[in-house]
Point group: C2
């Protein structure tokens, strides 16, 4: 990787960290793009060459869609044959590089703190998960062999994302949390659902 590319990565990272740090310190509304840019010693205009909005610098914008191979495996009935368990594999495959997430645990933790302090940002954070929802529904439809007008796959995708969201909310991004750990938590969540929503369980 050349000098040019390295500098870009460094600037990007620095802007994210400045955005996160300043937001935690003063609150999102009391931090201007001008300040963030100044902290990194870059012009305000450059900030917008890296991030389309201030919020995106604060929250990050992980792409969040399972790779083609994982989708194919899931659609064909794998990897284990158990629907719920396979679903947890598909979901965790969404983190294009889970190592990346764990490598930046500190940043993730700070972002979690921000989300707790600034509820206005929550919708924007959901938008990422929601973006993946439709595609997830299509993959589920393939596995189930559903007719196109069957609404169930989308429903399953929507609730699965809820479980994912619920699970992520309780992650603390420390060492122990690898993909298998997350899958275990997801399985727990799905299990709770099957208990609660079973007929006459109240």
């Amino acid at each position: 990787m050349g000098l040019r590319e390295r500098k870009k990565q460094a600037t990007r990272r620095a802007l994210q960290e400045a955005a996160v740090g300043l937001t935690l310190e003063h609150g999102l509304e009391n931090v201007t793009v001008e300040e963030i840019a100044a902290a990194v010693d870059v012009s305000p205009r450059t900030f917008f060459n890296y991030f389309p909005t201030k919020e995106e610098a604060v929250l990050g914008n992980a792409p969040l869609s399972p790779d083609e191979e994982s989708r194919e495996v899931f659609a064909m009935g794998g990897p284990t044959g158990d629907f719920v368990n396979d679903l947890t594999h598909l979901i965790t495959a969404s983190f294009a590089s889970w190592e990346d997430v764990t490598a930046h645990r500190t940043l993730m933790r700070l972002r979690k703190q921000i989300l707790e302090k600034e509820p206005q940002l929550a919708p924007r954070a959901f938008a990422q998960l929601h973006g993946a929802e439709e595609g997830l529904g299509r993959t589920i439809a393939r596995r189930l062999g559903s007719a196109p007008e069957d609404a169930r796959p989308q429903l399953i995708a929507a609730t699965a994302m809820s479980v994912m969201r619920h699970t992520m909310k309780r992650l603390d991004f420390h060492e122990g949390e690898d993909a298998e750990h997350v899958r275990a938590r997801l399985r727990e969540g799905f299990h709770h659902l099957s208990e609660v929503y079973a007929p006459s369980s109240g």
Copy 2:
């Protein structure tokens, strides 16, 4: 109701309709607050006396939380004794006045069209449901007698909101859709979930 109050309601309604109409016609980004205000023959500044943001005029801001009595009934094990069925009652009670919703079917339909055409607005629309989630979780916790550290009520609330969202997406806001109709659709949704997430159903 005095003249003053009536005029306010009229202005509010007119602004919403102008916002919705212009947005459908030209797209959200191509409609300015100035234009919306001009269409209602009101100063731009006045627009912001009614709505804090342009988006809120377009999407509306129904409060969306069940009334105290409905929460109490649910927490105490009613109204039917079946958990899932009672949950559908609690959720539909969230529409402080369902009549209001049905009375403005046209506006609701237009908003639905907007949400399909302008995906950027979806997160903001979810925010309303998300706002109700935590409170719903607490009510569920009361009914289940859960310990405070039990995460299940929040999980149930989150997925219930997903089912609600999924259901609302398929409403078309015509005459037949009263609260009981919606509850039936919700029950269907919950039923699908119990089937799918049941152990070894793949």
